[in-house]
Symmetry: C2
């Protein structure tokens, strides 16, 4: 019997416990041949038997493991210490991960993969192992519908207060499962209201948002075998996904009486923003380092991670990037000019700036975005004299938490705008959809007045038990507080006067009306705050078309249940199309963060913008059978082209045409905008229990 | 049957586990009446039964607990959150501790103490509870020979790399006790050789030294009921114990080609020294905060710890202290002048500067030493906006680890010298011992040449299991590396020409010969580096007296076995005098740190100074029966007067008399000095196994 590919995901479970410990809800036991065991446990048959004895009838699943192939040489990934932290932002770590992913991808069968993974698991750094195996499972054709635990489930320490982990350990040890109580994660554990930046805690520290960001990087590795990196419009997605994070973050800042975030465009200045994550890494048994106020970046020289670059290098890369934008071309290694045109320029620049292996000239344009993360992450120990590791800003699994992330990406986004603002503005002709008139839009929330969005707090229980190593089994729930919005419906009326059926792409954006001074924004500024809420295709019959679209259908978001999915319950039947969708559709903006917080009372005044563009100009012809299509806006479609020919962020990705100062002046007949308000109720309105 | 006082110490064990969990090596179980249980476990009889079932025959000891008294009101100590850090340096925490100590001290019987302690244990902060109960056990007449676990045993997280705790958890869970291996604590885990201050790691992070310092503060609380604070020459001991730490630290710096430590006498300057402790607090499930390079102290305003003072306050207290030294008197609250005379001046100033409740005017002279610790400990979050807690410098259990401790205490010691250097230098008449001639001294190590001290590295295993909460039982050893010295003997020849028997006090000091420039030191500087190695009384018969004294007899040190004592093995029979000594003699400089490291090759050139003074002038008449007399130099004698009438540090506590520039010129006939060398062998010469 060949190995069941679903068992591979079990190897991600409880990453610090030995491979022969029970895994998953069913306490599955891998039967590990002696030669695959690590030296610490090899030739000690008793140790596996003890685990079986302890479990008794609680474990009925046995996973046979073969030892019939030569184990590939893993000395490269083994260079990383078992207890070291691991970050995709560090080139050396990426190199080790690329090596391991290639090994996993290259194995001929699920059987062989299982053998090598079992061998590798307790020998390699658990963070590196989990990342590489996850990427391999996501990208191997024969493991595509293996459902993987969320990063949160196996590394809860990357998402929650270390205090909660300590309390969960007590609860799991002392109290039987039936009597356990959820452990509440306090709302205000990283800072107090004295710190203005802390008003954004619910965004920066949102578990779903951090999972989204990590998941995106899992789906879009910047390094690795070419077949996993080279994805359609990957560089543009890097730009757009992060641009939208910035737009939303600034939107949240306005919701909290804070000005837009300042770009980190001077690498020599002290950085006033501090961050104290108050989380431990269970792998390294070390706390995530903090950053005190007013620290300055320095030249990096750390042998441990093979990092050596100067602040001046970052400045050189900045200068070259901006020069490319201003000249309208980039230079390849042989000195050839590659034009930055309207269609592919942003994609080239995205891969260049991140950078990914798709960069047209990594030696020349460097690694600006990644190295900025790294320089910030190691600001407290640039030459490793204190044997410190990187702070959260240095790891894409946790970097959203730090206020400086948004200063860094405000700068990064501004660099991309150096290109975007040089493109010819869209003409009314380009923007219009001849014969199609968008007459009105109205938002109807399932509670509250029309043309309001309603937000409030919700509490949700999530199970920590898959990530608590060396603790008795059974669920232990953490209860966390997060933003939520009342479901709502868009009612859109479109008139088709072409006399024939037509197809349109509806594009919905939301932006604040006023800036931090309370003044109505010019569109050239407001466009950068335009948050894409939805995009979908409609059939337009001749005459009036009343279109209803609910918020939960958004192609930007994944459903709340998917963000915090429980892989074992409510799961569609094995092998069905529904099951496949269930698994693949993990990537996407979390539904509970669709609408920014807004304000209490009359709320935060916003402009809701809706456009219907001509689908004939937008469509991408490809076979979409069996493809998860839940949240393509930020995540694309697996193994397919990006399903919209327009530039991401269209029509707001470029400056408005001459003479258009306000959104109202921008509108062509196929567009409309309506003033709406986001009204926040500052109390917990719902609890979503863990069982 | 009344309660056994020895069981009280079990309440200090595994501080995070519930009180009804097994305690001590014998898995003793407290039988806790329902009304004493916390709400989480009350009315759930099953939960205690489950513990009994799990242990089965492994637990034969039951400790009955009565619930026959009214529980005193503990709302004051309960103000401190269970998971909060706790520090004796914070006045608010001292207030809570004082309250709880008073409760424990005031209870009428061991029975009542047990009941209240069982009730309090799971309700109060474990750090506060353990401190207050330890002080109570040390000071109650009816619990005086209760042997307490070392702080290291119950809070190993305060002494070792958090990584080791993580590995110990795995070892204890996966591996049966017979197969467990000691977990080695790396020598270089807090910094690398790039950081010059890291050369002193073996001193700052020595487990024995940190235990000594903590133990000293346990024996000499600065606040509490008057009967436990008011100890003979307490303030002078505060001065002298810390002065000797400074002398030794500078000695170690010379051993490592580093200059003497710079005083922290400007509170506005950035502090170049950084410290990254890499330890977790298991109580708060938070890492000990770190201090990045070049941070500056700020005014403190933190409601959480009720701390509010300005840097300017520290400067005012400094000014008043120095003014007192220069004027020769301090001022009490009614404006009366209290003279700072030769006998008691330093004692008054010690209590004033620390400060303790014995301060003659705490309102006026403030709390300089404590608040400097606190301002440094909270340098990263002075207004609590980041909800951060104090770094190691803010807690006397862990403050020796941080390089800034020595800068702070160089400053503190310098303040005391403002008084000391104004005292009239000792005259030759005062120094001499008429008719007694000290002819020679020679040091003979048990390996190596005469007049050398030999130092090397040793590894010792210590059991972590008493402090690993929620982990399967059985020993888990950590192996740490520490300095050690070869035992040696002093051979001292003294001629008594008085014609009658005499009694003398032999005083032995060691200091480096040269300063950081390699220049022979003036005595006015060298005296501050004089490390007291021993002090003892001798009977001098008329004629020549050959005196042999071994290093392990030193009245400065406690034996290695006591520093790392195992309370359950090799213990003298219960109730014997030996047993009482065994328990009481915990306080003292650790034997393995008696001799500074020195240098390899020809070693570090030093002056060994020996003096014999007239015991008739030194002696203190008191009953010493049953008193532990092992290490009185730093610790005094319990419930007795300090056993030497001379000023601590005599004869080097004052400036040398006019005309004396060098040590050789200082010598009267009852003194001698001999050039010696400390030779260090840079390898592990011995391993002391844990079992």
């Amino acid at each position: 019997m060949s190995a069941n590919k679903r068992n591979l995901a079990l190897l991600l479970d409880r990453p610090l416990e030995p491979v022969f410990y029970e895994k998953g809800k069913n306490n599955a036991l891998f039967e590990v041949p002696n030669q695959l065991l690590t030296d610490r446990y090899k030739n000690n048959a008793d140790i596996q038997v003890r685990v079986q004895d302890r479990l008794g009838e609680e474990s009925t699943v046995r996973v046979p493991v073969r030892a019939n192939i030569a184990i590939p040489n893993l000395s490269v990934p083994m260079q990383l210490d078992r207890k070291a932290p691991f970050s995709l932002l560090i080139p050396y770590h990426r190199k080790l991960a690329t090596h391991l992913i290639s090994v996993f991808i290259g194995l001929r069968s699920v059987d062989d993969l299982q053998t090598v993974a079992v061998y590798a698991r307790d020998r390699l750094n658990p963070l590196l192992f989990n990342y590489a195996l996850s990427v391999a499972l996501l990208h191997r054709p024969d493991t595509k519908n293996v459902d993987m635990p969320l990063l949160f489930e196996v590394f809860p320490d990357k998402f929650i207060d270390s205090k909660v982990i300590g309390r969960a350990r007590e609860e799991a040890t002392v109290v039987t499962e039936d009597l356990r109580q959820p452990i509440t994660i306090p709302k205000d554990y990283t800072a107090s209201d004295l710190e203005p930046e802390h008003r954004l805690w619910y965004f920066r520290e949102d578990i779903g948002l951090n999972i989204h960001h990590w998941h995106w990087h899992l789906v879009f590795p910047s390094d690795g075998p070419d077949q996993i990196v080279r994805k359609d419009r990957r560089g543009e997605l890097f730009y757009y996904m992060h641009q939208q994070i910035q737009a939303r973050y600034n939107f949240e800042r306005f919701s909290n009486d804070l000005p837009r975030v300042q770009r980190l465009n001077n690498f020599r200045d002290p950085i006033p923003e501090a961050y104290f994550p108050k989380m431990d890494s269970l792998v390294s048994s070390r706390a995530w380092p903090s950053r005190s106020p007013n620290m300055k970046m320095s030249d990096l020289n750390r042998d441990l991670e093979q990092l050596r670059f100067d602040i001046a290098d970052l400045e050189r890369w900045d200068a070259r990037f901006v020069q490319a934008c201003h000249q309208g071309f980039v230079q390849d290694p042989r000195g050839n000019q590659i034009q930055l045109d309207e269609a592919t320029g942003i994609d080239i620049l995205g891969n260049l700036l991140e950078s990914s292996t798709l960069s047209v000239n990594r030696d020349f344009y460097g690694d600006l975005h990644n190295m900025l993360h790294v320089a910030l992450g190691l600001i407290h120990d640039p030459d490793s004299r204190h044997l410190e590791t990187f702070a959260t800003i240095g790891d894409p699994a946790v970097d959203l938490r730090d206020p400086v992330f948004y200063r860094l990406h405000a700068y990064v986004d501004d660099l991309f705008q150096e290109h975007k603002q040089r493109l010819t503005p869209y003409t009314t002709q380009q923007l219009n959809f001849q014969g199609i008139q968008l007459n009105s839009v109205q938002v109807q929330p399932n509670r509250g007045a029309a043309n309001t969005f309603q937000t409030f707090w919700q509490q949700t229980d999530i199970d920590l038990s898959r990530g608590l190593d060396f603790v008795p089994r059974g669920n232990v729930f953490a209860r966390f507080t997060h933003l939520q919005n009342a479901d709502f419906t868009y009612n859109i009326n479109i008139n088709n006067s072409t006399g024939a059926p037509a197809m349109g792409t509806v594009r919905i954006f939301l932006a604040p009306q006023n800036d931090e001074r309370g003044t109505r924004m010019f569109l050239r500024d407001q466009r950068l705050l335009m948050c894409e809420l939805d995009k979908f295709t409609v059939a337009l019959q001749p005459g009036d078309n009343a279109i209803r679209r609910t918020s939960t259908e958004s192609s930007v978001t994944v459903a709340f249940e998917r963000t915090f999915r429980d892989l074992d319950t409510n799961r569609p039947a094995a092998g069905t199309q529904e099951e496949q969708d269930f698994i693949f559709c993990g990537c996407g903006w979390p539904q509970h963060m669709l609408i920014p917080k807004g304000k209490s009372g009359v709320g935060l005044p916003c402009d809701l913008f809706v456009m219907v563009s001509n689908y004939q100009d937008d469509r991408v012809d490809q076979d979409l059978v069996g493809i998860c299509n839940e949240a393509p806006v930020f995540c694309g479609l697996r193994d397919r082209l990006y399903p919209d020919r327009k530039a991401m962020g269209y029509p707001f990705d470029r400056l408005p045409r001459q003479g258009v100062d306000q959104l109202s002046q921008f509108l062509t007949p196929n567009m409309t905008s309506v003033p709406v308000s986001i009204i926040h109720t500052d109390s917990v309105q719902a609890i979503r229990k863990g069982r």
